[in-house]
Structure formats: structure tokens, C-alpha cells
């Protein structure tokens, strides 16, 4: 008998939710017709800024699923100053992320020391064949256009160092 007020209160909760949905509309959106705005840090797909990548393999080694495949070779680049030695730089031959394996943990994005990997909130890249979920470096590069701007620093926070440009 002591439960009766709670039982009635429970009915009130669900009924008020009906009234709320009917009068104010639902919390959900009708997906194919309308899209939800993704949250700023949504983990949709990983984008690659190829020029920043040095093929250091950190992301591939840290990846828990081993879903990043990197191949690269060394090239000689012209010296920075006149009369200097030519520099040796790493060039990417292959940079694939298999989104069939990826678990969207974001460790690769966190670990990249040269700001070559970014989260993009895009999520509509499903494929009929699972093999097509392997995005190569051109496809990963195309996602860069969808990467949102850096979030501004909080007021009063000191800007340490310079962000590597995209």
C-alpha cells in the first residue's frame, strides 16, 4: 500500500511525456528528411592532412585494432638555406584506414605529433561491401574539407606554442 503514490506518480511521468511530445514535438528528428546537427567533437570519420604526415607510424602502432596501414619512402628535398645539405623527408605511399575495423577510439588522432589526423563529424559513408570501408589517402584527404575549425581557447587560457597549420 505504501507503493501506491509512487505507482500513480509513474503513470504521471509517462503521461506528461505524451503531452510534451504532442505539444512541443519530439526530441528526435526524422532522419532521411532532416539531419541532426552533430556535436562539435563528434567522431564521425578520421580525416588525413597528407602534407603534415611524416609516416612516423605512431598512429599505426598505437591503433588498438591495427586498422591503419602506412607505407612510405624517403626522398631528398631541397635544402632550407642556400648551400645547405638536401634534407631527407618521408613521403607517404599509402595511408589507409579500414573503417570496418576502426572502433573510433581516437587514439591515432590524439597521438599524432604533427597534426595530420583530425576528427570529422561526417558519418554517411556506409558501403554495400565491407571492403569498400577501407579509405585510402585520397579519400581520407577529402574528408579534410569537413573538419570543423579548432575550438577557440577558453577566455584567459594561455596559448602555448603555435598550432601546426592545417
Amino acid at each position: 500500500m505504501a507503493l501506491v503514490p509512487g505507482v500513480i506518480k509513474g503513470l504521471g511521468v509517462t503521461f506528461s511525456e505524451i503531452v510534451k511530445t504532442v505539444t512541443k514535438g519530439p526530441e528526435t528528428v526524422q532522419y532521411p528528411h532532416a539531419k541532426e546537427d552533430p556535436v562539435p567533437r563528434a567522431r564521425g570519420v578520421i580525416a588525413l592532412h597528407e602534407d603534415n604526415c611524416t609516416a612516423c607510424m605512431l598512429c599505426a602502432r598505437e591503433c588498438p585494432d591495427w586498422c591503419i596501414y602506412i607505407e612510405g619512402h624517403k626522398e631528398l628535398a631541397p635544402p632550407r638555406r642556400a648551400g645547405g645539405k638536401p634534407r631527407s623527408v618521408n613521403k607517404l605511399d599509402r595511408f589507409d584506414i579500414d573503417f570496418g575495423l576502426c572502433m573510433y577510439c581516437g587514439i591515432c588522432v590524439e597521438v599524432c605529433p604533427f597534426e595530420a589526423l583530425f576528427w570529422s563529424p561526417e558519418f554517411e559513408y556506409s558501403e554495400p561491401k565491407i571492403a569498400d570501408l577501407l579509405h585510402d589517402k585520397t579519400r581520407l584527404g577529402q574528408w579534410m574539407t569537413t573538419v570543423p575549425e579548432f575550438e577557440p581557447y577558453e577566455a584567459g587560457a594561455q596559448v602555448k606554442g603555435k598550432k601546426v597549420p592545417r
Binding site: V7, G10, L11, T14, F15, E17, I18, T21, T28
Partner: protein, 351 residues
Amino acid sequence: MGHTLAVEFAYWQTTIFKLVMAFVAVLIPAGGTVYLYLFKMVSFMQSRLGPMEAGPYGSLQLMAEVGKFAQKEDIFPARADRFVFAAAPYVVLVSTFLLVLVVPFGPDAAFANFDVGVFLALAVSSLSVIGILMAGWASASKYSLLGGLRAAGQLIAYELPLVLAVVGVVIQAGSLNLQRIVQAQIEGEIFGWGALGNPFIITQFIGFLIFLIAVQAELAQVPFDMPIAESELVSGYMTEYSGFRFLLFFIAEFATANIFAFLASVLFLGGWSVPPFVTDLLGIDPYSNAMNVIGPIVMATKMLLLTFVIYWVRFTYPRFREDQLQKFAWKFLIPLALVNIALTGFFKVAF
């Protein structure tokens, strides 16, 4: 009671008409309440819109669901008792169709006017236990067997408060005939004031509550859905069913909910009758032929109200534990119903 039509129909004509109307009375309300409450109301409770794509506001979603079930493979488990397994959903469905026979929709608009209508209704409603036990046993699956046994235990436990809750109404109306019970509610008076008639929900409110709770348990709906508890028994006795046979269980479950709502409206809300002051206002005899048309509409309205309560409760509460469920029936509902009967008998004699 009532008037006969000017045209006389042959027996086979009325039989075919009744057969078609039985399907209408079972399937149309079932489809309607499933769309209105199971698809839409529940979605609103969860702050979403529910099906919106099939037809305007998703109103043809049920057609899509039926089509989906109909095209699925009809799987028999390897070690199933094939005949019993195949027959079980039909047994459950037959109990639903037998139940609708006794419900009066108007002074003449009833499938049959049984003198022991209440008794028959409660008897055939427990027929579904046999079908559920058949399904649970023949599936050759532990989940199904446990679900079937739980269902049997639960239905037997809650059959008793269901019957005892109705006994109060029967004592007050002085008849087991559902038409006479409706008549008693039209002609009843509340302390000499007869404008509302005397819907038994007023005098038998405890009985009404017990009836609704027991119906909820009879239908194995939340919070009494131990037999089909999907988080522990997958889907209970329905686990091994697929395709059309699963659909039959589905139809039986929701159609039975409607028919119990019909029964509850006959027993407690005055059935097909409108309150006497309305018939006085319109100047029609409460047993006239017009009530054969108005009656089904009134019944549908009352049924929608009661099924609203049934589904509202269903989608609000969490599940009872098995022992709590049995305790609730045997230690609370049945004693309460017995007290209710004793009090009703006392007042019946006193007044």
C-alpha cells in the same frame, strides 16, 4: 429485448454475416489499438514520433509488419513436436475469437445471447493457457518451456481474482447474462437518481481495479510479463516461432487485450448503453433499434479508453519478479476480491 428488423434473414445468411463481423470485431480494433497505442502512444512516451514513413503518419505500418511476417520462413525447431507446435497459435487465437462471441455490442447486435455469458467468457479466456503450454512444450527449447510454465502458473493465479472481481458485478446485476448486466446498469439508480444509470464502476470500483490488474496479468503484459521476459527468456513461449505463426500469437495478444477491454466496459462502464439522460435528451428508447448502430460506436469508445489504460500501465512500469507476482495475486488481490464480494453481498441484502 429490442426489435427485430423488417427483413428476415435465413440462418445461413446471418451465420455468414456474424462470421464476417466476428473477424471485423476482432481484427479492426486490434489493428487500431496496435497503431494508436503500441506504435504511436509509446513513441510519444519516449519523446519520438514512431513510424512515419508507411502511409500518412505511418498509419499503414501495420500492413508493412504483416507483410514482413507473412514473407518470413516458417521455421520448425529440429526436435519440435511438429503437430502441437503448429497447432498452438491457433488454439490461442481460437480462445480470442470465442471470447468475442459473448460481448454484446447493442440490444440485438450480439453474436450470441448466452444466459451464462460471464461464465463462458471467463471459461474460454483460460483456453489460451492450453495453447501457451502447447507452444512452450512443443518448441523443445528451455526458454520456451520455462516461459510456457511461467505463463501457465501466472494465468491460473490471476484467473481467480479475475473471476472473483466479476462476481461482485454479477451479484449486483443479479444475472450472468451480459445483456442483463447492461440492462441493470441502464435501469440502476444511485440513491434514487437515475440520470447516469448505475455504471458498476461506481459501486464496484475495487472490483474494476482488480479486474484491470488481472486482465493485465492474463495478457502477460508488463508489469506481469514474466512469461515472455525478453531479457532472460528471450521471448518465452514465442521464442521458437517465426513468420506467420508468430504473427498469430501477436494478433491473439492484442486482440485479446481489446476483447477484455470490451468485457470490462460491459461489466463496469455500462456496455453499449449511453447514460439514460442522453437517451432522454435525444428522445430514443434505450433498447431501440438505433442503439444497434450507436452501441458499437459507444463500445469502441469505451474500449479505446480502457485499452489506453492497459497500454499506459504496460509502458510505464518495470517487471514484477516471479515470486512478487505470485504473492501479489494470492496474498493481496484474492483476499481483496473476497472482501469485495462479501461487502457487495452485504449491501445487496441490506438495500
